[in-house]
């Protein structure tokens, strides 16, 4: 096919001509319209729908401030700590850039957790949005890796010992564990070699993957269209032009809606940056103002707050707790056998996996530390299963039985309690509480195929619930 370029009149504005020239060679206008300009989003978005845009904003803040920090930071065990103080004192506006970056890290997790909570409430991961959810889940994994690698860079005591503890977890893997953690560290202890490779991952490897995944997340979302608080497909009600009746073009409606959300967020964000950058030790830990010392182990090593729900599950896995886990696995395999309609082969795979785990947890099997790492990993990975675990006939919590809301609230309480216990030093009572919460956490997901389909569901309306402003 021959190359055809649309002819504009000779007196057309220069900008139109330039755009026409580009559009003939690159789908600029089409891209804008598909992704935002003519992307029809449901008009009934509520408060919970701001966190996607805010996550994008914080991503940009982290990248831009990160670029400036790298200009002055030294990834060298002998210089890293003082180079951060150099940024705080001698680089013009360095303190602001650094505080924006450190506050941005925590803000990112607050936003992402709320963004995920929204998806849980309104069933945003359900068909046809499974890939949107999976890309988002991969973004969450990248974010955790990014935060973990980045936290070593200030080279304070918490940076150092936090990295030491987490890298040592790989040592619990049978046979290859000790060599694997040695390979990750590049040394027998966390050292200059570790700092250099973590720096490389933090500033190049993970951000590259992260950006690609964000693009995939958005392209997938704009392909299938956004969910909404009612969990209705707005594409099923089209007007004469083929646009959803219950949708509005993102531009200008959600452009200005999100700008408003962004300004409110920035009020809160700058309040922390300018008045409480340490946030009482949760965003910047006091121990991290002591330079890393491989000979002095701090009394209490806690990961940063955003990892603590999962970290608590790791800590809750003691050898006594394994008996409960074994009983839980046995009961679950029975449940799958008796109460599911899965093919016989898959049921057999469940039974085999269950048997291997139960035997592995016996006193002669692998130790509790290994199973702690397995549960720690599973507690994160299980989120990926949401689109298939949830069997509710309706998407949104609005039309689910009322007791489902209680189940969500109990799960939320267990998750936050795990997070709280993870920052506290362990004690026998706290350990029991975190074990109870860990059981609730896993039960919520693993039993979801059954409980989510049970109860009296409310009728779902044909059109979205919307009150004009």
């Amino acid at each position: 096919m021959a190359f055809v370029e649309k002819k504009l009149p000779a007196d057309a504005p220069a900008l139109d001509k330039a755009l026409n020239w580009v559009d003939a060679r690159f789908p600029l206008t089409k891209l804008w319209n598909d992704q935002w300009g003519q992307y029809y989003a449901p008009k009934n978005f509520n408060f919970w729908y701001i966190f996607g845009s805010l996550a994008m904003l914080v991503l940009v803040i982290q990248i831009v401030t990160g670029i400036f920090l790298v200009m002055h930071y030294k990834p060298d065990a002998a210089m890293a700590f003082s180079s951060v103080e150099y940024i705080m004192r001698e680089v013009p506006w360095g303190w602001l850039v650094r505080y924006m970056h450190s506050t941005g890290a925590s803000a990112f997790f607050i936003i992402i957790y709320l963004h995920m909570a929204r998806a849980l409430m309104y069933g945003s991961y359900r068909k046809p949005r499974e890939l949107v959810w999976l890309f988002g889940f991969a973004i969450f994994l990248c974010l955790m890796a990014e935060a973990f690698f980045g936290y070593l860079l200030p080279w304070g005591q918490m940076s150092y010992w936090g990295a030491q503890v987490i890298v040592n977890l790989f040592g619990a893997i049978p046979f290859i564990g000790p060599d694997l953690s040695l390979w990750i560290r590049g040394d027998y202890v966390v050292s200059d070699a570790t700092l250099n490779r973590f720096f490389s991952f933090h500033v190049i490897a993970i951000p590259l993957v992260l950006l690609g995944l964000v693009a995939a997340h958005l392209i997938a979302l704009h392909e299938v269209g956004s969910n909404n608080p009612d969990g209705i497909e707005i594409k099923e009600n089209l007007d004469a032009n083929g646009h959803p009746v219950d949708g509005v073009p993102s531009h200008p409606y959600y452009t200005f809606h999100d700008i408003f959300g962004v300004t409110v967020f920035l009020v809160l964000f700058t309040a922390v940056v300018f008045f409480a950058p340490e946030m009482g030790g949760y965003f910047l830990e006091s121990n991290n103002f002591i330079p890393a010392d491989s000979l002095k182990t701090p009394l209490h090593i806690a990961p940063t707050w955003y990892f603590t729900p999962f970290y608590s599950i790791l800590r809750a896995t003691t050898s006594d707790f394994l008996y409960i886990v074994q009983a839980g696995i046995a009961a679950y395999v029975c449940l799958v056998y008796l109460k599911s309609s899965l093919p016989a082969l898959i049921k057999m795979a469940f039974a085999a996996a269950g048997l291997v785990m139960i035997v592995g947890m016996m006193p002669f099997g692998l130790d509790a530390k290994f199973w702690g790492v397995v549960l720690f990993g599973s507690s994160v990975m299980i989120l990926a299963g949401m689109p298939w675990l949830d069997q509710s006939p309706v998407k949104s919590i609005r039309y689910r039985p009322d007791w489902h809301k209680i189940v969500f609230i109990i799960f939320g309480i267990a998750f936050v309690t795990l997070g709280y216990l993870g920052v506290e030093p362990p004690s026998p009572v706290r350990n029991v509480i975190s074990q109870v919460c860990a059981v609730i956490y896993f039960a919520f997901f693993l039993l979801m195929p059954w409980w989510s389909a049970t109860g009296t569901f409310k009728p779902v309306p044909k059109r979205v619930t919307f009150k004009p402003h």
């Binding site: 008009k43 200008p252 300004t263 009020v267 309040a271 300018f274 006091s286 103002f289 936050v416």
Partner: protein, 252 residues
């Protein structure tokens, strides 16, 4: 969903209910972060008493100009003859000598005030209590001990100012298991120092205010600027709110 929001908000505040940790209670350090005379006096005490052994390698002498001192004042009063105003606050004590004399190297004090914060109190509270909790203890190599930091390697450098104190302990019985243990009762002065107790507390407060300032010299700029940033951001969000409303008015 309102109920859910309330529960989330309550849970977010839970960590504030954390149990306070036990130990020697911290006194509250007076806030002198905006008192230039106090900060200057603190700087003088810091250079004269602390900087002989401790360093503050992230800090330049010239930064003291932020406290209202001039180059000449810094040069004349706070510098050794060989140092320049733009130099970093290093120390001539080597790590090897420090280990031989005290058993450990004195920590760098650049961000010491930030590193001592805990649930028991702020970093300045810890330092304020620490420097006022020394007592004579002949069982220690230096002859000094500290209530807040037991068996600390640092001797009581400010003893000339505070004088020499002894700590009185009394034997108490535990309510639960009836074991006997020694509990701190009070300090008694055996040799008065150059300062009265109130004057000493005030000087330590000045020194701690200086250490806190040195931990983050930009902190007052940060807060001053923050007020303007918040005012501006709030006005912007007000505008954005009305702008958004004007677009959404037409959505039926």
């Amino acid at each position: 969903m309102k109920f859910l929001n309330k529960i989330i908000a309550t849970l977010v505040l839970l960590p504030a209910l954390a149990l306070a940790s036990e130990g020697y209670p911290l006194d509250h350090a007076p806030d002198r972060s905006n008192n230039m005379a106090a900060l200057q006096n603190g700087a003088k005490l810091f250079v004269n008493y602390c900087l002989n052994c401790h360093s503050a390698v992230s800090m330049r002498y010239s930064r003291l100009k932020d406290l209202g001192l001039t180059d000449d004042q810094i040069r004349g009063n706070l510098l050794l003859a060989s140092d320049k105003v733009g130099d970093l606050m290093t120390t001539h004590l080597t790590v090897k000598d420090a280990k031989a004399w005290f058993g450990s190297a004195p920590p760098d004090l650049s961000v010491i005030a930030r590193s001592k914060a805990s649930e028991s109190g702020s970093g300045p509270d810890w330092l304020y209590t620490y420097l006022r909790s020394y007592y004579k203890d002949d069982s220690r190599p230096t002859g000094w001990n500290n209530m807040l930091f037991p068996n600390v390697a640092m001797p009581h450098v400010l003893w000339e100012l505070q004088g020499v104190r002894e700590a009185e302990f009394e034997e108490v019985e535990d309510e639960h298991d009836h074991s006997k243990k020694m509990e701190f009762k009070k300090f008694t002065t055996i040799t008065p120092g150059k300062l009265t107790a109130a004057e000493y507390d005030s000087d330590v407060a000045d020194l701690v205010a200086y250490l806190n300032w040195m931990g983050e010299p930009e902190q007052s700029t940060r807060k001053r600027l923050g007020v303007w940033v918040l005012i501006w951001m709030s006005m912007l969000s007000l505008l954005a709110w009305r702008l958004n409303a004007s677009y959404w008015k037409e959505v039926k």
